[in-house]
């Protein structure tokens, strides 16, 4: 077998093993589309998950939570200003 073929075979083997080991990493990054929040990020009550404008969970709820927990709130990104500009 020529050297080039051996290198290609070795690369293919490495790629296959990398793919196999990354399978778990791929499934772990699945997005939960059930609407009840994200896999582990949007835990109710912690910032990022609060501004669910579309679902009508809206700002008021977030606002009440913020007032009850001074010191966190907007600064940590509860109702972030959309930064499009």
């Amino acid at each position: 077998m020529c050297v080039r073929k051996r290198i290609l075979l070795l690369l293919a083997g490495l790629l296959a093993s990398a793919l196999l080991t990354s399978c778990e990493a791929v499934t772990a990054q699945h997005i939960d589309s059930s609407g009840s929040g994200f896999q582990s990020g949007g835990q109710p009550g912690d910032g990022g998950g609060r501004v669910r404008g579309g679902a009508g969970q809206g700002m008021d709820r977030a606002w009440q939570e913020d007032e009850s927990r001074p010191g966190f709130g907007g600064r940590q990104g509860t109702v972030r200003n959309p930064d499009n500009k």
């Binding site: 579309g54 600064r75 200003n81 959309p82 930064d83 499009n84």
Partner: protein, 524 residues
């Protein structure tokens, strides 16, 4: 007259960059979410560390350019795909090593995309809903919805598309450099290497939002506009107009690119010709708002909204009001402005506009001239010398569940899973702080390279860089007024790479004869 105007523009940008560089000798601008929380930090500079990191960054940059020169003997068809493939591999590695979950607006737009895709739920456009207040983010929602409709629901899909846009941007940086350098820039692969490995850009693929796609579209638009100014083919300006409209649809700072291209066209009216200049301006102006018009027509036609989406959205004065805040020097004002729109004005655009105007007026009139100068100086220096585009939060991310923050309470960021890299880069670890220092120093080195280029251009009367200079000056001016985040400057990084690499090349050319002369002198 025109020549003097060009020189004035170059001098103005050189002045700002020199101000940023000199200020960095005594002020260190930081954004480290894992240590300080979501807040901008300005503190005394540590000169010794700065010198070490600047030397390291300069060495890394020069090594890239040297390696690029070495690669010059190979065919572009071989080298360009190889460099981009290498960058792809690194970026794929990053999204597996730091499986950052979206937060804040990034999470909100993704959530809305899922609501629209699986539940046909568009209630976010109703009063108080996210898209009612911030309809400009519907573009990102639509983009994510399309990707999730076609591909599996996985964060990796969205991040891989980010990577593709990053690779396009890298290629465009190289092509823009070549276009501006002419024959001089042929096969300077160092620029491509630099762009493909630029740390904040490589990490930003991890951020599911509109920055990466808008940067790619706007850089492409600028590239085709520059080509139009040389070749005068209307096909090029149409492509540029379409890309400009697309980029602006994702991030409204596209208007800065529009103004810069329009001004550049007017300055080149003699070479482009009056008729072609007017046609080009017309094309750009007509195409610019097309995505917005289509969006409004479709949403109103399908009954999702009853009035134009901007009718009662948050007014631009909300961000201007944040921008004048003295305490936060223009950073997020802890809901103060948002509450004016939401609570005091009851989501009414006109009413809140009046309140914001009044607030801005009183803030400006109550502050002394000295206080205003101090605030705007801090604002300018933090935004432009933070230097990492906040990659620490948006690229590396944090494991909030591990309570890595120090004295900041709860961190909101999360990872899908932890890895050896998330552990190594946790909190204020040496790796994280080191990488931030490197990106910070590299940014200053790039400013220095850009100053070299600008001064060289003033001396030799070069004007090719005008569109890039105008865009950067536009960003400087805009973010003097607007609410700030250093991440907002992300669309400027391709232009800084182009200009700084040109500056390094100029410097290299100056140094070689000097060194040769020195050697001869020693020999004699």
């Amino acid at each position: 007259m025109v020549k003097r105007f060009h020189q004035a523009l170059y001098l103005l940008l050189a002045f700002f960059l020199a101000l940023f560089i000199t200020s960095a000798f005594w002020i260190r601008a930081k954004y480290i979410y894992s240590v300080y929380g979501d807040t901008p930090v300005l503190e005394s500079q540590r000169i010794g560390l700065l010198i070490v990191w600047v030397a390291a960054a300069a060495a890394a940059g020069l090594a890239m350019l040297y390696l690029g020169r070495k690669l010059g003997k190979y065919r572009p068809k071989l080298v360009i795909p190889l460099i981009l493939l290498g960058s792809l591999a690194v970026q794929v590695g990053v999204i597996f090593a730091f499986p950052r979950l979206p937060t804040d607006d990034s999470q909100t737009v993704l959530s809305l995309a899922l609501d629209m895709l699986y539940r046909n739920d568009y209630s976010s456009f109703q009063t108080g809903g996210y898209l009612h207040m911030f309809p400009f983010n519907f573009s990102t929602v639509l983009y994510l919805k399309t990707l999730l409709f076609i591909f599996p629901d996985n964060y990796l899909v969205l991040k891989i598309f980010n990577i593709l846009f990053m690779l396009i941007t890298s290629l465009m940086i190289y092509l823009l450099y070549k276009e501006l350098s002419g024959k001089d820039g042929e096969q300077d692969y160092g620029v491509l290497l630099f762009a493909a490995t630029y740390v904040p850009a490589v990490l930003m693929s991890n951020f599911i939002y509109n920055d990466v796609i808008a940067t790619a579209a706007l850089t492409l638009a600028l590239y085709f506009a520059v080509r139009f100014m040389k070749q005068r083919s209307l096909k090029l300006i149409i492509i540029s107009g379409v890309l400009l409209a697309l980029g602006n649809y994702f991030r409204s700072i596209g208007v800065i690119f529009l103004i810069a291209i329009a001004l550049s066209l007017l300055l080149k009216v003699r070479t482009v010709g009056l008729r072609r200049t007017l046609i080009a301006l017309g094309i750009l102006a007509v195409l610019f708002n097309v995505p917005g018009w289509i969006q409004n027509a479709v949403l109103q036609g399908s009954g999702v909204v009853g009035e134009p989406v901007n009718a009662n959205s948050a007014p631009v004065y909300m961000w201007l009001n944040m921008g004048v805040n003295q305490e936060t020097f223009g950073f997020w004002d802890n809901r103060a402005s948002y509450n004016i729109y939401q609570r005091e004005a009851g989501y009414n655009k006109e009413a809140s506009t009046e309140l914001f105007k009044e607030n801005i007026r009183s803030t400006l009139s109550e502050a002394s001239a000295g206080e205003l100068v101090r605030t705007y100086y801090k604002k300018l220096i933090w935004t432009w010398t933070e230097g990492t585009y906040q990659m620490e939060r948006y690229g590396i991310g944090n494991d909030g569940s591990a309570a890595a923050g120090r004295g900041t309470g709860m961190l909101l960021d999360r990872y899908s899973y932890t890895t050896v890299f998330t552990h190594a880069f946790a909190g204020d670890s040496l790796y994280r702080i080191g990488l931030i220092w490197f990106a910070y120093a590299l940014n200053l080195v790039m400013y220095a390279g850009t100053v070299v280029r600008l001064i060289g251009s003033i001396r030799t009367g070069r004007t090719a860089e005008v569109p890039l200079v105008l865009v950067i000056l536009g960003f400087v001016g805009f973010y003097l007024l607007w609410e700030i985040k250093s991440r907002y400057l992300f669309p400027v990084y391709p232009l800084l790479i182009v200009l700084s690499c040109m500056g390094f090349k100029d410097l290299y050319r100056c140094m070689i004869p000097l060194m040769m002369r020195g050697t001869r002198h020693v020999r004699s």
